[in-house]
Symmetry: D2
Subunit: 363 residues, 4 copies
């Protein structure tokens, strides 16, 4: 029931299944005047695309987006922006043999329970295919944030298996992230991640990890207490992505073992409208409102559930069976997750920037 829209003012609505003819996204609420064309959507789509490197699935999705509305003479008009992406490489025969099996770790069974029927080809709406719409909306949100508020959103892989990268969220650059197919800006860790992913791939298995997304230049004051706190909305945004099992910001779960005297960030004397803290354990949000410090979030991403090695499972009648998910699947979701995570953070910030704009004090 009506779960395919996100945002109050910058409102993103998506439709489309894994193996259907197209994915569609409508972005309603982008202010007029923003320069925009299909070229703005291409870079993040390329980063999301399957088949981009040996680390990812070898499926081919050219992902040529077409803007159908909301743009006139190269600028947004303020009316809803619809974008369509046709599907081209829908080999649904790959899925025929598993239509009657419940894939472990997949939503096959929960979809059957919910809807009473299901398009078995590729997971339908539970597939990561739907994130093509999110990445498009995210590219628009990023452009709006950059042009209107000077905000930059950047993600990267922080951890794969037990390989943890060292990254400075305040300094990391897109070029550093994109330097390797691991999308990890720590070169030494990136090399180890690549080796690990290659190993699990050869082992017909998969591996999990953690992605980090930072938003820099966010003005203090975004977020709407008490239920639409910025931390809550960003958390929802990331948790709505496939395979995400947890979200934290700042020190996150690390706070559990700290004392208040260790955890509180110390304010540095200075202009009170631009206060900074010595450390950023608060991850750029206090009371659910942005503080002006970089917003830093992490998402735990599970290992791909689709693995080629045989697994015991049940069929749709509940009987014991065995499955080997052939298809073409990522041995590690993290590198392609990065643009998805950025997109959801950017969409959320765009929405809250508009809400912030509406709520400026009355003089």
């Amino acid at each position: 029931m009506a779960g395919s829209s996100f945002g109050l003012l910058f409102r993103v609505t998506t439709a489309g299944e894994s193996h259907g003819p197209a994915n569609v996204v409508i972005v309603d609420g982008c202010p007029p005047g923003l320069p925009l064309d299909e070229g703005d959507l291409a870079p993040d789509l390329a980063r999301r695309r399957p088949g981009q490197s040996k680390l990812t699935t070898q499926r081919k999705e050219p992902d040529a987006p077409e803007i159908l509305s909301g743009v006139h003479e190269g600028r947004t008009t303020g009316t809803p922006i619809a974008v369509i992406v046709r599907s081209e490489d829908a080999r649904s025969r790959d899925y025929a043999k598993i239509a009657e099996l419940y894939r472990p770790g997949h939503a096959d069974h929960s979809y059957d329970m919910k809807y009473g029927r299901r398009d078995p080809r590729g997971g339908g709406r539970a597939s990561a295919r739907e994130t093509v719409s999110r990445v498009i909306a995210g590219a628009i949100a990023k452009k709006l944030l950059r042009a209107a508020a000077g905000v930059e959103v950047l993600g990267y892989v922080r951890q794969v298996g037990d390989v943890v990268a060292e990254v400075d969220p305040e300094a990391v650059t897109l070029a550093e992230v994109e330097a390797t197919p691991a999308r990890c800006p720590d070169p030494e860790a990136a090399a180890r991640m690549i080796a690990l992913i290659d190993e699990v791939r050869r082992d017909r298995d998969s591996i999990g990890g953690v992605a980090e997304v930072v938003a820099r230049g966010v003005p203090a004051g975004l977020g709407e207490p008490v239920f639409d706190k910025l931390k809550a909305e960003l958390g929802r945004a990331l948790l709505s992505l496939p395979a995400v099992l947890g979200v934290e910001y700042g020190i996150g779960f690390g706070a559990a073992t700290l004392r208040g005297s260790q955890n509180n960030d110390r304010y540095l004397p200075g202009d009170p409208t631009r206060l900074r803290t010595e450390s950023n354990r608060h991850g750029g949000m206090l009371g659910g409102i942005s503080t002006g410090m970089p917003i830093v979030l992490r998402a735990a991403v599970k290992p791909t559930s689709s693995i080629p090695r045989p697994q015991p499972t049940v069929n749709t009648r509940g009987e014991a069976a065995e499955i080997a998910v052939e298809g073409r699947h990522d041995p590690c979701l993290l590198p392609r997750f990065v643009p998805m995570g950025e997109a959801m953070v950017a969409i959320t910030l765009a929405d809250h920037w508009l809400r912030w704009r509406a709520g400026r004090p009355i003089e």
Copy 2:
């Protein structure tokens, strides 16, 4: 701007500040016919109340709720249920001396940046005082879930500092949780938690931890892909609570180091409408839809920011200052967090149960 409502169909709207005359909550969307009176609200309010044990702040808040609408002759009528709780122990003098200081770890500065003005008494809307409204709405949601769907929601403290409890989410009982003021059902861990909290209190400091909330009996099929996935909505719900820095479900961040072959839960053969898995690393949700297995979530709660020991900070002009937050504060938020976490989980599930009801297949 309009961030004080939660839920699409079971819609909770709250108002009220820390030191204002009252807190108010309106629950709109509770179906008619549910038996309800003030007595149903009392137990969880007592669990949330300050001053309930040595582990918590010694502030007194009698928290006598008055139902103003939506109930007739002991049953809900289907119209909105308004509940008011008057404040009684508002010692605002405690806060006079810190009105011009930015408390480290608090939202004082971000509120000033957002609103241009602020009620300095007790944190206003950023205080945990507002959760009295959530706990009331949660008690109604719990009663609805139990009566209409056989769902039970139960929380407990899983970790304080480095003390981690052993708990079986499928078997733990309310009596076990309430057996000690630590609200931790593992007696051995509870004793160590109590000792640790007492130590940090004497040390004029505070300590963080992790709470766990389990929902049992949730039917398969709740959650609305792709943005209103149940995991996303539950995550938002918990992250909207004060002091929560992270949320995970099932194996959570632990998935980062697992392989797919280790992480996928194995289906047990049986009635396909009541399938169970051997393990529950998926935390009761796949594809963002409930599977029928227990839903298990954890929230990271930071150490109380208000600590009596002196800390360096700045004043509202940005100049260096020192602060010792006197007032009466919890040395550890976890024991009182439990009913808050339960409330947010219950409200979210009630909302999604109603959405599920609306969306049943057409025969």
Copy 3:
């Protein structure tokens, strides 16, 4: 299910029944900095109050509002504003004898069908009593509109029975409206309305009419195509009031018999950012967006359904019966409708002014 909230950014949520202990309203989304106290709510409450003149019901409702949150030192803080109004004159004995009868023209039967149960005292949530919450929210909206955008909202009675007033929406003043208890600024028509209302009252009957509401100073550009056009939102706002059977703006139903060449308003040459039209058949909105001309709406209000003269009806078992609704009822709803209509128009405009603010073009 969750029908007691109105507005996207200026969000009004109400609760309370006719004969319950109190009515409650939460206004979430009023920007900070607006001067506000209970005195701002009093004038419109007095205009809505029963017993204010011989033209209205003689029930007494002192309607003393108490602001419980969202205001600090005389100004709004940006957090939700809760206001409570206790009920005092709840003579529920008046209703005892009709609890088992379905009153003609009332919602008794439709409530029973919807909710399966019903508080029979005074119509519960279907009573005009709930509009006390709307009038409070409307007073806040009016103050915001005046202070922040220079907008003035004014209503008056345009027609009672076959007495139709002559009014110039651009020039009419509050003093003219309040000059007589008929709340009609045309003195000659007002006198005839008063005589007519007195006649139907003595005849133990009631009479319908038409109210007009004008909003002056509304900047061009408010309204959000295509579903949230300003005309659609204002229409919904007025139609949500009890007893309203129709809404029109500008020439309204009169357009049915006009030709395009007669109906189109002619633009007057001048500053294109402040264009005016010679006439205002478009009622201040084109394409669902405000044009800068006065917004003029009319609502058809039915004759009070509760009349003292005996009427045939059925009881709750569907058997023939007779009813004489005693209680104390308005012989004509129009005079007291005026502040309710103003309130709903003001709330809608406040919401759209905030949306307009959010959507300003990107430079």
Copy 4:
């Protein structure tokens, strides 16, 4: 800002401009299991289509809809249904010469004021072209209502200029409506309407009218007090359509001159769960909740603003000018309005039927 969605549970989102490449609609919240294919969309699209008779514009829009998602093997899956309609006959050269003129009665100026820029071709989003998306969503809503609740929605032309038809809303059939291009089921009135429309067309002018929409078989109990009353939502739905200047239900504005004793509908003794009234001045709704009697609404539709005869106006610099809107325009909007009105009524009822389903009493 985000005004292109309608409905809480049956949520319709549209995008597309008059002369853009395509119109897109996403229907999110249609329950699974409903038989659906493109053929279900064709009949109402044909009724909405320009060029269908001499009474309408001669523009050609083949309007071939393509369902892109949400349907599998001929039935809805419960996931969002996206439908695209490519534009084919976009003669934008027709509009070149009027790009710098403000057309009287059009939204050219209000769009400029709102957005700061505007696609001048054919009115962009203010054109009736966008209703193609509404009619598609309406066809899905109609099918859902019929299959799941036995509800039938039917519209017709009630008045053109001073020609008023006699129609019995309880008995009128689709065949009667479609018998003439006037879409008026009263044959004598239809003939006079056709003659009148032909006359104004030859006169290079246009004419207004009134459409009526009836919904039969609606169960008692739909509508959500107090702001989402069914009358308010239906009124908003119809007022959101282009050219609608007023909406009424039941006796509507006629109530202004009635006494309560005349206006109250008398209940007929019988099964209390299926009560009927002798007359239907209440238009099937009391207290904003459906009563089980037919819902009857009327919409006032203005004469087409685009007329070929020259009119004085101003240009975008505010200077006096003259305009003759050539293009191809309907001399009377009413015949093509009928499927648009039906669509909005059906969408609203589908949404409220789902809300009703969610809110059934707890046993």
